[in-house]
Each structure stands twice: as structure tokens, then as C-alpha cells.
Amino acid sequence: MKMPKPDAGVIARRAEIIKAMQAIVSGEGVITEDEELRAYDHDGLMAYKGLPLVVVLPETTEQVSAILEYCAGNEVKIVPRGAGTGLSGGALPLADAITLGLGKFNKILEIDFDNRTVVAQSGVTNLGLTQAVEDEGFYYAPDPSSQIACSIGGNIAENSGGVHSLKYGLTTNNVLGIEMVLMSGEIVRFGGKYLDSGGYDLLGVATGSEGLLGVITEVTVRILRKPETARALLIGFPTNETAADCVAAIIGAGIIPGGMEMMDKPAIHATEDFVHAGYPLDVQALLIVELDGPEVEVDHLIERVDAIARQTGATYLRISQSEEEREVFWSGRKNAFPAVGRISPDYLCMDGTIPRHKLAEVLNRIEELSRQYGLRVANVFHAGDGNLHPLILFDANEPGELKKAENFGADILRYCVEVGGVLTGEHGVGIEKRDLMGVMFTEDDLKHQQRLKCAFDPAHLLNPGKVYPTLHRCAELGRMFVHEGKLPFPDIPRF
């Protein structure tokens, strides 16, 4: 992975920059020693590491504003960082950039049950939001698997999903407002405790912008009352095709489950060996279908899903009879990543989304590629919304194997796009998929995205080297070729 060449001029000014940061953030909020910087040398994409120029941990929005203003004035780059759990390298440090950590923004500011909102600083963890309101029976719906550690600010930067996004939406559908510091140091607010905006939807634009548009310091999210009850079915199939048919038939019957997850045989075996959830080992594919709502609705839908599963050829079927059993069903799926980590020294987690009806085709293609590359793969899949997580198993100590695994992953993602899907469903582009952007987008598509970037950060100081393979200078993007001014289209009907 090629990163932009560090600016030697900025590195030479390190002492001066540190001094300026210490004038804004006192004491241990400015980290300069190598040993301490090492704690920030990577994010959830473990294969890539690097030391930042310096780490700054501000505590107030005003400090963030002062830092950005200084950096804008002195052409110093910024890498924003939440909890550092991102899987695509979005928070990978740069040698000539300040890593701006939001870890100290950890306070819940307001809980408003009547308006069903929580206002919190951006470093509060995803689970922290739910924990703040669960005594009253509420929760924050998006639940990425890293929810115990990941920050809500990071969730917004990545537009995180989770197993319940099929029914309850992604981060973008559950955030009402943010406070953001622009690269200029200006503090802006998009949205609030109300819906929609009176202008362009900048809240929507900031969500999923991977730290390229601004630094989020405060968020307002909506909370929901927990469903009365939830039950799950564990359904085994003899083939990937029959499992995929079942998924399509459930959706086709007008049922939107709270969650619908699929695992292939290698994933089933790895997780069963690890957590002993009681998964059947003689099936090729396993579905977990969770239904939530009032008991009478859940019972009704369980019956219907049960019937659909039988019709589509299920060979194994279990329905959770208690909350404990439901949690056991999930325990395997929720531990799929560490379970795979046990059977292989290293793994890469991919994140394409595909149209649901292409599932079996894509799984077959992955199997083919697995043979070609000589690398094992286990598949877990948010089947309900077509989001595939192939885990490619490799050993980084074997020379060339990381590269091989990366090439394998890239081939999978290219195939996802080929069948009508996309490069990333919830993990973000970061550095990991940056160089594949051209597979999905034309040069003009990418330039229009970058024009948005230019409106927020004209000097490209925020998180450079991420998301876009080439960053065009804003002046160049603004230039327009003027054609002749006469009506050149005799064939367009005019009235």
C-alpha cells in the first residue's frame, strides 16, 4: 500500500509544532515519545503500522478548533481518530501528520427520554450510549461488532452498520445531529433534536466521510425502546444455494427480520470449536434469523419463517425457547472473528455488499479463488442486507503471503462490483480499498466526490491518503472547460 510521501518540511518543524500543540493542550494531552506513540501506530487494520508525527488528545471543542486553525495556517495534516477500531485503516497515522485522538471526549451530555434522544461527546462508545439509557428500557440501535470499544464519532465517520441494520438502519438513519470542527477551525452544527434540515443535508454528507471533511466533537442520536421480546431460529442447509433461497423467500414473503446472518461451513466449524454453541456440523450453511417485537408478532413470524425454511430445504431447525438459548445461537456468530483467529495466524476481513440473489454465485467464486490462491477462507455474511465478510486466512510470517491474501481480497471485491454490488458495506474504504475505487467509479464520479471535499478542506489537510487513490488539487477540480455557447442538439425536442 503506497501512502503519500511524508513532507520532510513538516517533519523538520516537529519541535515547533509540538510547542504549538502544548500551548493549546496542556500536560499529557500531547504525546511525543516513541514508546507512547506506538499505542497509536495502527487501527483495526493490523497489517499496517506507522508512527504519527505527534498525538494530541484535546478535551474541548475549543481546543480542537484551535488545533485545526493552527494546522490550517501552518499546513500541517491531521488524522482524526476515535477508538482506533476501524477495519480499513482510516485512522492509520502518517509520519507528517498529527493524530488527533478524541478519546477524552467521553461524556454523555444529555439524555432526553421524551424526545428519545441522547446528546454525547464523540468519543463515547457505541455501547456506552445504550448503557446510559437501558435502565429505562431504551437502546441505541446500530450495533457494530466492536460496539464495546468503538466510539460514536467513529461510527458516524464510517457510517457503521451491525447485525440489526436490516430492520433498524445504519448509523446515518439513527443520527440526528453533530457538532463538527472544520479544517478552518470553524465550529458548525448540522441537525439537532429535530428532523431534516433547511438546507443541504450536510449531516448526511458528513456521515460516512471517513474523517476527510471535519472532526466530529458532539453527536445527537435517536434512541428506541427495546422490543418486548426477541427469538431466533437456527437453520441448517445442505448447500449455499438453498440457504440463499431461504433468505430470498423470507424477504419475498414481506418479512424483515431484526437480524439475518449466514455462515458457511468453515465458519461454522471454527466457531463451534471455539464457543460450543451447539451448531450442526453436517450442514454446508447456517442461518440465524432473529425476529423481535411483541410476543404475539414474534410467535406468528417464527411460524412463518419455520415454514419457509422447511420449504426451501432446511435439514436442521431449532427455535430458541429462552433468552439464554437465543444468546447461545448468537454466541458463535458474534465470536466468528476471534474463532477464525484461533485457526490461522492472521486473517483479512473483507466487506463487500452484493445483491442477495447473487449470494450462491459469489460464494462459489470465492471458493474457486481460494483454491487458486491456495488460501483458506471462512464466510460470515449479513445475509439480510447482502453484506459479505469473507475472512481470508494467511500467515504474515510467510514471505509474500500478506500480498497474496490482499490480492485474493481485491479479486473478491472486484467480483462483488461485477455482480452489481459495492466494495464496502460498512467497514469503509480507508487505505484498504482505496486503490480499488476505480473499479466502481469513473474519474468523473471521483472528481465530484472530491469537489465536496474541496468545499470542506481545500488544502487536503484532513486524513490525506485515505479513500481516494488520487487527490486532485482543488483549483484543478474547479476549472471548467467551456464549450461553444450555441444550442448543439437539434435532436432534443424543444417547445
Binding site: E186, L195, P294, R451, K453
Partner: protein, 413 residues
């Protein structure tokens, strides 16, 4: 010279916009024109009529999406969805009659460009939440796309959000892809009668804060209730607070019972079933319950505002508006959406309205007023400082010559 250009293909749209950019000739971008009177009046020499870009290109019910030409009528889309028991869950409001036009007009591109929503906004979101991807021509005269056909997609910036609600000021959509969802098997509405506005906010918060998955919560003060064509509502002789639940049959019955028990102490309870329930929510969605509108096309010249505020502040905000001559309101979104009608004033009472919104946090839009008023008074919430500059820079990036619906949202942008 004023012409209407009527391209039949995306390529012809590109040609037309290229020409407009080169000759710096502003275009009024139009689907069917059903919302021409929404927003500021566009000062454009020419009209770009997209009605030729119509038709469903791809509809796969099991994949829960549809791709269609930007000017495909909502009527055509809804008919196709009905055949498969599906719907656009964002329930786009039909503002036709409110704006003095026809019922059942409008296109999907228009619904997205105005970021329409309905009572289900509180549960399912607005057009922005269902808009998955598009092909478009920006004001630079360049074709670009964003998004895709799948719901879970974080590849690059989410330009769909930028385009939804941009009123055609950044790009001309040629083809759009949006999410579709199963239509509910059953719908029922619990009515609570006789609540004051303030008590209604509390009752709706109770319902929305329950686990009963309420998909609509509206409050009609007595004057608004009287306008309804649903006899139970019109004849109540009191205010009516409506709580909607949707879903599988047994679940809807269960939740109606639970909500009735929850709200019984608030006031008298009634229930609306199938057709009456559907009719009432249609009236709420399409803003047909403003007292004094009398079903007149254009409401006899009365002006209409839409205020989006934090729900519990709804009644408080409305109370600050009673000084406006002939003011009448009703509430949707659990109190978070206030529809206000008032006798026409040269300034549409905008300072009073903005002041009231400011107190609660939110924004107000002047949805109906004469063109002269809409050009004099900011139609959308005025922006200041960094926010205003950001908006201008985004417009500059996508439409540097200012040829797409110039001034539709903000004067000079």
C-alpha cells in the same frame, strides 16, 4: 428567448446542461412541475423538462429496490409496488393540492429533490434514507453517479444525501435507485380525544417511547379535526390525537390494545380500522387538514409554513404563533412537525416564525405563498457564517456557473 428543452435520454440531458453551462443560460429543472411553487422562484431563461426520462428500469421485489428514470411518476411506481405488496416506506407527501395543483402528480426525482417524507418519517425516515444511488449531470456538464442498488454501502462519500433535498440546484438526476419495502399487512389507528396540545405532546411521547413500534403520531386540534373527511374524526367535537400501528394482523391488534391501555387515562379512546385509518393518514401526510384551507386549490391565498422542531417543544412553538392572523396548526411526527396556515401577509410573518423555531431548535420552511413573497422572504431556514459559506462552496463545486435552479433555495446560490 425562452425555450423548453425536453431531452429523451441521459445523453441529451448532458448536451443540454453542457450548452447551458457554456452559454451561462440558467435552467429551471422540472419533472412534472407539481412542486414549481415550492421554494423560491427560479430565475431562468429556459426550462429543462425531464418528463421524457420516465419509466421503471429495474424492479426486483426480493432485492427491495427499484431503479427508475428520474421523471417516472410516483403514480406509476406506486402501482407497480402495490402489485407486489410493497411500498416506498418514506410515504412521500403529495403536496399537489396544497400547492394549488392536481392530486397524484409528481415524480420520484421531485420527491427526492425535495426530500419528501410522510408521517412514517419518525420510524422509517425521509426520501434521503431510502435513496440508494443515482446517475446525474452536474452543473459542470459532466455525468456522474453515486451509490448503488444495495442498502449497505459506504464506498466513497454519500452523495445521495447531498442530492436529496437539494431542489435540483446541484445536479440533474437522470436515473435513481431507491429502497422499497413490504407494505404492512394491517394498519390501525388509536384515537385519543379531547387532549390539549401540550397533553397531546406528552401522550404521543408516551406512545413513541413504548415498544409498540408506532408508525405515525399526529395531533389535530379541534379546528383541524373538523376538516377531516373521516366522520369519527370530524364529528369528535374535540381535538383528536392519532397513533398508528402497522404490521402483521395479530401484532397490530395486540399493540392497539396495549396502546389503548397506555393512553386510556389521557382521554377518551376510539379506534380506526382499514379505510378510515388510511384516509386519515393520507390527509395528514398530504396536509389536507389546515383549517381555513377549505379544500380550495391553493387554500384561498393563505400562507403555509412547515416547522421541524424537537417534538416536546411542538405545542410551545405553536403557542408563540397564535398572534399571526388566522393562524391554525396541526402536528405530525409526535409534535416535531408543525403545519401552520395563516392569512397572507406581505412578509409571511417570517420573523415571528423564525423566532419561535429558534426557541426550540429546528427549522422552518415557507411551503406556500405567492411568488413575490417567496422571493422576498427566505423560504428555507436562513444560514449564517461557516454554514452559509459551506453551502455556497458546495454549489460552486457542482454548479460553478449557477445554471441549475439558481436561487431556488437561497438567493444568489
Amino acid at each position: 428567448m425562452s425555450e423548453t428543452l425536453k431531452p429523451e435520454t441521459a445523453e441529451q440531458v448532458l448536451d443540454a446542461v453542457k450548452w447551458a453551462a457554456a452559454s451561462e443560460s440558467p435552467l429551471a429543472v422540472r419533472g412534472q412541475g407539481s412542486k414549481d411553487a415550492f421554494g423560491r422562484a427560479v430565475e431562468a431563461d429556459h426550462t429543462l423538462d425531464l418528463s421524457g426520462l420516465s419509466g421503471i428500469c429495474c424492479y426486483e421485489p426480493n432485492e427491495l429496490f427499484m431503479t427508475a428514470g428520474a421523471a417516472t411518476t410516483l403514480a406509476e411506481i406506486e402501482a407497480a409496488l402495490r402489485q407486489n405488496n410493497q411500498q416506498m416506506a418514506f410515504e412521500p407527501a403529495d403536496l399537489g393540492v396544497l400547492l394549488g395543483g392536481e392530486e397524484e402528480a409528481g415524480t420520484i426525482g421531485g420527491a427526492i429533490a425535495c426530500n419528501l417524507a410522510g408521517p412514517r418519517r419518525i420510524k422509517a425516515g425521509a426520501a434521503r434514507d431510502h435513496f440508494l444511488g443515482f446517475n446525474a449531470v452536474s452543473g459542470r456538464g459532466e455525468t456522474f453517479k453515486s451509490g448503488g442498488t444495495v442498502v449497505k454501502n459506504v464506498t466513497g462519500f454519500d452523495l445521495s444525501k447531498l442530492i436529496a433535498g437539494s431542489f435540483g440546484t446541484l445536479a440533474v438526476m437522470t436515473e435513481v435507485t431507491f429502497k422499497v419495502l413490504p407494505a404492512p399487512e394491517k394498519t390501525r389507528t388509536v384515537l385519543v380525544l379531547g387532549l390539549s396540545d401540550q397533553d397531546a405532546m406528552k401522550a404521543m411521547a408516551k406512545a413513541l417511547g413504548s415498544s409498540h413500534e408506532v408508525s405515525g403520531a399526529a395531533h389535530l386540534p379541534e379546528a383541524a379535526a373538523k376538516v377531516s373527511k373521516v366522520s369519527h374524526v370530524a364529528g369528535a367535537g374535540r381535538s383528536v390525537t392519532a397513533i398508528r400501528v402497522e404490521g402483521p394482523g395479530p401484532s397490530v391488534e395486540h399493540r392497539c390494545r396495549a396502546l389503548t391501555a397506555l393512553l386510556r387515562e389521557s382521554g377518551g379512546i376510539e379506534e380506526l380500522h382499514s379505510e378510515n385509518s388510511a384516509l386519515l393518514w393520507r390527509e395528514i401526510c398530504d396536509v389536507r387538514l389546515l383549517d381555513g384551507d377549505g379544500g380550495n386549490e391553493g387554500g384561498g391565498g393563505r400562507q403555509v409554513w412547515r416547522l421541524s422542531v424537537s417534538p416536546m417543544n411542538g405545542a410551545g412553538v405553536a403557542a408563540k404563533l397564535t398572534g399571526l392572523s388566522g393562524a391554525s396548526v396541526f402536528y405530525d411526527w409526535g409534535g416535531g412537525l408543525i403545519w401552520l396556515a395563516m392569512d397572507a401577509e406581505p412578509d409571511a410573518g417570517h420573523e415571528k416564525v423564525r423566532q419561535a423555531v429558534k426557541f426550540a431548535g429546528g427549522h422552518a420552511t415557507l411551503v406556500r405563498a405567492g411568488a413575490d413573497v417567496r422571493n422576498r422572504v427566505p423560504v428555507f431556514e436562513p444560514q449564517t457564517g461557516a454554514l452559509r459559506e459551506l453551502t455556497a462552496r458546495i454549489k460552486e463545486g457542482f454548479d460553478p456557473k449557477g445554471i441549475l435552479n439558481p436561487g431556488r433555495m437561497v438567493e444568489g446560490v
